[in-house]
């Protein structure tokens, strides 16, 4: 007979059994027994955030930078509602995560009890799955299922709602070794017939493009992708979520595509004859107007583990449902075994065309400027960190400049909220990244508006000595909003000016950190260098940047990929 444990002890034992070393949370009435058990052990470290949204973003950053499941713990009612933004953020970007929430006791559910919300109902549309644990006998198996569902197939957040009385009840505990669910069996290997068809199409290509996304990062397939692209000598473009999946400094990398993608990537995407899409979901920010995209004829191969990602917005010719690394291994094997090659003359012509597009130099900016150009700050950050930092970002222009100017050669280095576009994500995510990578250099590229959405986390950083480098591209505007107002709303800057900004230096200092204000281009490099020398300290770098700078290229809403606004 196993020893009898309380539900709270079982919860912690389950986390230990899953190998969880770090969770992010905030206590409250419904989870007090769980906190009590956390207190009594030292295998699972708890990071106390200052707002539940940040707990979830931190767990998210932890997961994105490590490929472990991120874990957050919140109390019932307001704890959960605060967490929802973080959960939805993770859901949109398919991040493996388990959120444990406290709930009022089972006999109080439905009675409008103190701090009761219908957690399962509120979170249902933004989780991969969720559970309400009605009885202690279901607790361990439910947590097991939660980790399994979160990490397999197309990953995503799973929430486990545990009523307070369940954490008090006792039961004998064994952690299930395995779990199988008849209704959940993600596909791994691709259909061989389809892979063969893909090989034929690849061999017939004259103007090919490999377009890859978050699926490469999520499935750790950068190695196989790089091998495939190198052996074919095809051009490769990444989505915002896919950056680092293929080395950005490689000649075959043609940049990010989409709304703020490079000229060459968008043109190649529009005019290719064979498109190989891998772990990317033809997002509206990537394809632009789908009707315009259809103006050109091309054949599309689409590899994705989620059948519903396939032919959702763009109809494809050869769908392959499967796990990217497995499918790519098969594809590479078949390609190697054929004697044929794609038409090399046509490919050379295509590269010539792409190089002409490249000459357009679509990311150029004024390097002589007297005012700090935000692009230049990112470039310098790239140089000083030798391209080896973990970079998180918030949402806005600074996010796009980070994506365009920091060249990611490795996966899991670029951490941002793409699908939901959540301002406030950057700093808490960076905390999670730093905790998952204690030796890593972690920078958060942010804007003066975004950073204020979770600014309270400066306190968490102090408590846990997280030496983040906050790179604030301070343009005194919600720059991305201002840009749209300039382009599409007749320069009427409605509510996009950031008035009454705090003195970020003093603010950082008041939390016990170092603050620097940088106002001249010639001081940028030195400041960054100095900041990274302060290895044990969080440094808040407030760069006063050009207020009028815009992100180019830009595909305006409703326009086609080749209809970019260029500098």
């Amino acid at each position: 007979m196993n020893e009898e444990l309380t539900g709270a002890e079982i919860t912690i034992r389950c986390l230990q059994a899953e190998g969880v070393d770090c969770i992010f949370g905030y206590p409250g009435g419904a989870v007090l027994f769980i906190y009590d058990e956390l207190f009594k052990q030292d295998k699972v470290r708890h990071i106390l955030v200052r707002h539940e949204q940040a707990a979830v973003h931190a767990a998210d950053g932890y997961a994105r930078s490590s490929n472990k499941v991120g874990v957050a713990l919140v109390t019932s009612g307001p704890g959960v509602t605060n967490a929802v933004t973080g959960i939805a953020t993770a859901y949109m970007d398919s991040i493996p995560m388990v959120v444990i929430s406290g709930q009022v006791p089972t006999n109080a559910i439905g009675l409008d009890a103190f701090q009761e919300v219908d957690t399962v109902g509120i979170t249902r549309p933004c989780v991969k799955h969720n559970f309400l644990v009605n009885d202690i006998s279901e607790l361990a198996i439910t947590i097991k299922k939660a980790f399994y569902i979160a990490a397999t197939g197309r990953p995503g957040p799973v929430l486990v709602d545990i009523p307070k009385d369940v954490t008090q009840q006792k039961m004998s505990f064994t952690y299930p070794e395995k779990v199988s669910m008849r209704s959940y069996n993600p596909v791994i290997r691709g259909n061989l017939k389809q892979v063969k068809k893909a090989v034929e199409l690849i061999l017939s290509a004259q103007r090919p493009v490999v377009y890859t996304g978050g699926g490469i990062i999520l499935s750790d397939a950068a190695k196989q992708l790089t091998e495939l692209v190198k052996m074919l000598d095809f051009p490769c473009t990444n989505t915002l979520m896919g950056l680092g999946g293929f080395p950005a400094t490689d000649r075959q990398f043609i940049g990010m595509l989409g709304m703020h993608g490079t000229y060459e990537a968008n043109m190649a995407m529009q005019y290719c004859d064979v498109l190989i899409a891998i772990g990317a979901r033809f997002d509206d920010r990537v394809i632009g107007n789908p009707k315009h995209f259809y103006n050109e004829n091309r054949k599309i191969i689409h590899i994705d583990i989620d059948p519903s990602s396939i032919s959702k917005r763009v109809k494809v010719d050869i769908p392959i449902v499967g796990n990217v690394p497995d499918v790519l291994k098969e594809l590479i094997k078949l390609l190697k075994s054929t004697k044929e090659d794609p038409d090399q003359t046509a490919l050379a012509e295509w590269w010539k065309q792409i190089d002409l597009w490249r000459e357009r130099d679509c990311l150029k900016f004024d390097r002589q400027s007297e005012i700090i150009k935000p692009q230049m700050v990112v470039e310098k950050l790239y140089e000083i960190t030798k391209g080896d930092a973990f970079v998180t970002s918030d949402v806005g222009q600074h996010q796009m400049w980070a994506a365009q100017f920091y060249k990611f050669d490795k996966p899991r280095r670029w951490i941002n909220s793409g699908g939901l576009g959540t301002m406030g994500f950057g700093m808490p995510a960076a905390m999670g990244v730093q905790l998952a990578n204690p030796k890593g250099k972690v920078a958060c590229i942010t804007g003066e508006a975004s950073i204020q959405m979770c600014i309270q986390e400066l306190s968490t950083c102090k408590q846990y000595k997280l030496p983040l480098k906050i790179v604030n591209l301070n343009n005194r505007y919600m720059g991305m909003v201002r840009q749209w107002q300039e382009f599409f709303h007749g320069n009427r800057y409605a509510e996009s000016y950031m008035d009454a900004l705090p003195d970020f230096i003093k603010l950082a200092e008041s939390y016990g950190h170092v603050g620097m204000r940088i106002e001249r281009p010639e001081d940028v490099e030195g400041a960054l260098q100095e900041a990274f020398k302060l290895k044990d300290q969080l440094v808040f770098l407030d760069f006063i940047t050009d207020q009028a700078e815009n992100v180019f290229p830009m595909v305006p809403g409703g326009k086609g990929l080749s209809e970019m606004i260029l500098v």
């Binding site: 109902g121 309400l132 008849r182 209704s183 032919s311």
Partner: protein, 155 residues
């Protein structure tokens, strides 16, 4: 799908969140009490139906999705109709119910309650055949469907 609390709301939530329409939905446990079977009637272009199917399959509690209209199938819906039935109308309504193979299952001196089963369009036809002003109340279950012949849906 798994016979679990919440499974139904996931399906309903999916349809409203993604803007698909539900024409009818009927669900009950099967001979295996751990499973429920749902028949859901929807409409849309081929692309929409493909997405609906894929999205339903993605729900963790959904064990299997089949599109019955892909093959031969049988479809039945049950309707109960309470109608005003006085004087000469009583015979007329009885006759009409017979034509549609309906049964009168409750009687008062002013009304009949009629049970009719069939495809949804047959039930519509019955309602059209009855004088509109005579209808006091209707309740319908939504369609249940099953494949024709020896073919069996197994999980």
């Amino acid at each position: 799908m798994e016979n679990e609390a919440g499974a139904l709301s996931r399906v309903a939530g999916l349809f409203s969140a993604r803007g698909y329409n539900i024409e009818s939905l009927s669900v009950a446990p099967t001979e295996d009490p751990t499973l429920s079977r749902m028949t859901l009637v929807t409409s849309g272009s081929d692309e929409v139906i493909e997405q609906v199917t894929k999205q339903l399959n993605k729900l963790i509690e959904v064990v299997k999705v089949i599109d019955l209209s892909d093959g031969n199938h049988i479809e039945r819906e049950l309707m109960l109709v309470k109608v005003k039935a006085v004087g000469a109308d009583r015979d007329e309504i009885k006759r009409l119910a017979d034509i549609f193979r309906g049964c009168i299952i409750d009687v008062t001196d002013k009304s009949y309650t009629i049970e009719v089963t069939g495809t949804s369009s047959k039930l519509d036809a019955f309602l059209e055949a009855i004088d509109n002003s005579a209808v006091l109340e209707t309740v319908r279950t939504g369609a249940s469907g099953i494949g024709r012949g020896d073919w069996v849906l197994k999980v």
